[in-house]
Amino acid sequence: MEIGEPEREIEVWPLEEPVPEEMPVEAPEPVRIPA
C-alpha cells in the first residue's frame, strides 16, 4: 500500500479497545431420550 512519506509518530491508547466482546458460548440443545 502506498501511503506516502511518514509524518509523525503517535501513541494511541483508548480507555476501551474498539473490539466487540467474544461471543457467549451457547449451551447445546438438550437431547431428548425416548422413554
Partner: protein
Amino acid sequence: MTGAKEEMSPRDILSEPLVGWRAWHVVYENSLPVLVSWSLNTAWPARRKLEAACEQHGPRPHRDHDCGIHAFKSRDDALAYAGCLPYEGLSFVRAMEGRACAAVGRVSLWGRVVAHRGGYRAQFAYPYELFLIDGDQGIARDLARRYAVEVSAEPGRLAA
C-alpha cells in the same frame, strides 16, 4: 516524566482510536466468513484485535520501515488500491481460492501508530464498518454476526 515520552508533544498521545480505510477479500473457511488482507494473505481474527508482527521490530511499527497494519486516510485510496473504480464499474482484478467477494471499509487503529501523508501504520487494528463490493445480503449477515460490525451489501452506500 522520563524517557521517550519526554520528547513527545501532547498531540502525539491520543485516547481515541484513529480510523482509516482498507480493502479485504472475504473468504469462507469451514462455512465461516474470514476477512483476508488484500495483498498479504493475513486472516483477520473475529472479535479479537489484529496485532502487527514484524521480524525486525516486533508489533510496534518503526518509523523507517514498512511494518505495521496499513490503512489509507481516504476511502477513494482504498477503493483504488482494491483495483476498482469508485462509484461505477466496480470490478476487481484479483481472485483467490475460496473468495466470496471483496469488502472495503473503515478500520480502527491504535497502539503505536506511524502517520503518513496518505495513511497509517498501526500496532493494533479491528474492522469498524464494512461495505461489500460484489457480495450479497447473506454474506453481509454472516460477516456482521462473526465480526460484530455493521456490514452493508450495497456498495452504493460508499458514495454517501
